[in-house]
Point group: C2
């Protein structure tokens, strides 16, 4: 088996039976505001800390997506989740609320696609009947952990992005009627182009997006135009431009059908510069905006490729560059 062709093809094509999204007040005011299942007016969600609020968002999204699928906690064989916080405490503490086996993941903002791939193999291989996947992030918890406390009022540079307060959850199962299906997936490699600017995630992640997308196209023998949409996670405006440029060097043009979740979620006139980021960005945008279009066949084939920047304050403080990762899944509408 050659390294370049390690794309997974699912025999049973696991279905995404339901999705659930929950976001904060700023995301509510954005272009996708009406698409989310719930938009909070209080980004502390009635809790005493932002961390507790983040964890509660995931718990709500897990509970609700199970309900939307017409199932109960007892039907779920595994909960697969992650977030951006140190030791993924949002996901770990949320899992405490459920009587469901738990797998904790961390691939930064690519966590949702990592989770969907692990969940799909578990469902497809018959190891669990149903799996729930979730990813969450919160502007207040992420900013103070990765950069500066909000109270400092630090000036944000123009290449920066805005961490989304949001969560998306997914209920995966086999053999459900009329549900979009995950047909194939490519697990990404860690790629480092030497970017060291912690405010420029888009540039750090674009090479990994290019690698995974081009490998996926090769392995599936498809072209960019075979997809209604090629949706990256949170490259933002600048990262998207770099991705287009890198793909063109490989004679692949995604000019007409590539969109980035980070570019979709906020209004142009807000001080978010390059757009949204965070594990909850792609997780909530795909769950709320893209999934319904696959369900009603407005879209028939989407390559969903969230990207992650694998840094910590320690690695950056020690002068390390920022490696990126991107996992891609192909989701297709269903006729059965």
């Amino acid at each position: 088996m050659k390294n370049d062709f390690r794309t997974i093809f699912f025999k049973e094509k696991p279905c995404i039976v339901s999705t659930y999204s929950i976001v904060g007040p700023k995301e509510k005011g954005g272009p996708l505001g009406k698409c989310f299942d719930v938009a909070l007016s209080d980004d502390r969600y009635g809790e005493s800390t932002y961390e507790k609020a983040e964890s509660k968002m995931l718990s709500t999204a897990v509970k609700k997506v199970i309900k939307k699928a017409g199932s109960t906690e007892n039907d779920v064989g595994v909960m697969i989740a992650g977030d951006l916080l140190n030791q993924i405490i949002s996901a770990s503490f949320s899992a405490r609320d459920f009587d469901i086996p738990f797998l904790g993941l961390y691939n930064a903002c690519a966590t949702v696609s990592e989770g969907l791939i692990v969940g799909s193999t578990l469902v497809d291989g018959g190891y669990v009947e149903n799996a729930v996947v979730g990813a969450v992030s919160h502007f207040a918890t992420a900013e103070r952990q990765y950069r500066y406390p909000l109270e400092l009022g630090s000036v944000r540079p123009p290449q920066s992005q805005w961490t989304v307060t949001g969560c998306g959850s997914y209920f995966l199962s086999k053999n459900r009627k009329n549900c979009p299906k995950i047909t194939s997936a490519t697990i990404g490699k860690v790629i480092d182009f030497g970017v060291t600017d912690v405010n420029n995630m888009g540039a750090a992640m674009a090479p990994s997006a290019c690698s995974t997308i081009s490998l996926h196209l090769k392995a599936t023998n498809t072209k960019p135009e075979d997809y209604d949409l090629i949706l990256t996670g949170d490259l933002g405006a600048l990262g998207s431009r770099i991705l287009k440029h890198l793909l063109k060097e490989q004679n692949l043009s995604v000019d007409l059908n590539h969109v980035d979740c980070g570019e979709l979620i906020y209004n142009m006139d807000e001080k978010v510069f390059q757009g949204g980021s965070g594990a909850g960005c792609s997780a909530s945008v795909f769950a709320s905006y893209v999934y319904p279009k696959l369900k009603n066949k407005e879209l028939n084939r989407v390559l969903f490729a969230p990207t992650g920047a694998l840094l910590s304050t320690v690695s950056s403080g020690q002068g390390e560059s920022i490696p990126g990762i991107c996992h891609a899944i192909c989701v297709e509408s269903s006729d059965d």
Copy 2:
């Protein structure tokens, strides 16, 4: 499907083809010192920071375990790894060294069994030919991140454990002759008994070990005495006693065949109090000490159940208790 019976049975019984272990100088001086593949005399491993040393330990372990299996990087479909550091930078930066798809995990010190379960399903289900799993921890990086910088010389309380500087890696494949096989696995639930003492991990994790082990026994219709060894991860001496007590309440006695990796790795006369801990503790002990005994049939059936404490400095600072998790895999010697 009932919640209590969500144990995975592997159809093809993935083989552990090879293992590799690398530890620090303190572990070298312990009772298992001679078992490890490599024991460093310099715990900075020739690097400028402990974090870089930790990452290099994992990279070495991944390279060497592939070589020991008689394979090359090209044969490996996925690298699955994790560590204790914020944003699992040791694993993420190590993965940068390889042209192998990467899945990053975090379940604290239960990461190695989480990785072995995810890897086994990927191999067993035919999604990848071969998988490499690794987990690593380093005393110096973990102590300063979770507790205090070493230079402070803080006094350690008697209920504390010592983070192992160590790494274990595993090469998983199908249909190899004379290799120990992973026959079944139970993904653990997150269990919180309200322990808030960040120095008392054993007490925080024992309830999850009890839950997973008893669920696994029920699902596989086995008794403790059906195993040559029931090996927990890093409960330490106190945690092990609590586990035995909790299991006895369910009429399960593991008095005769339960050992904890954290109790095995250090000498009694060292100031490690309850023993070793860390993602690299169970990963290196199983790889070096237990795996060879399964290979030469000194042991025939081992229940390997590493445990993790799902806390961060933020969660503890905010007054949260410490939830625990434990994933169990059954590894059996092979006659073919």
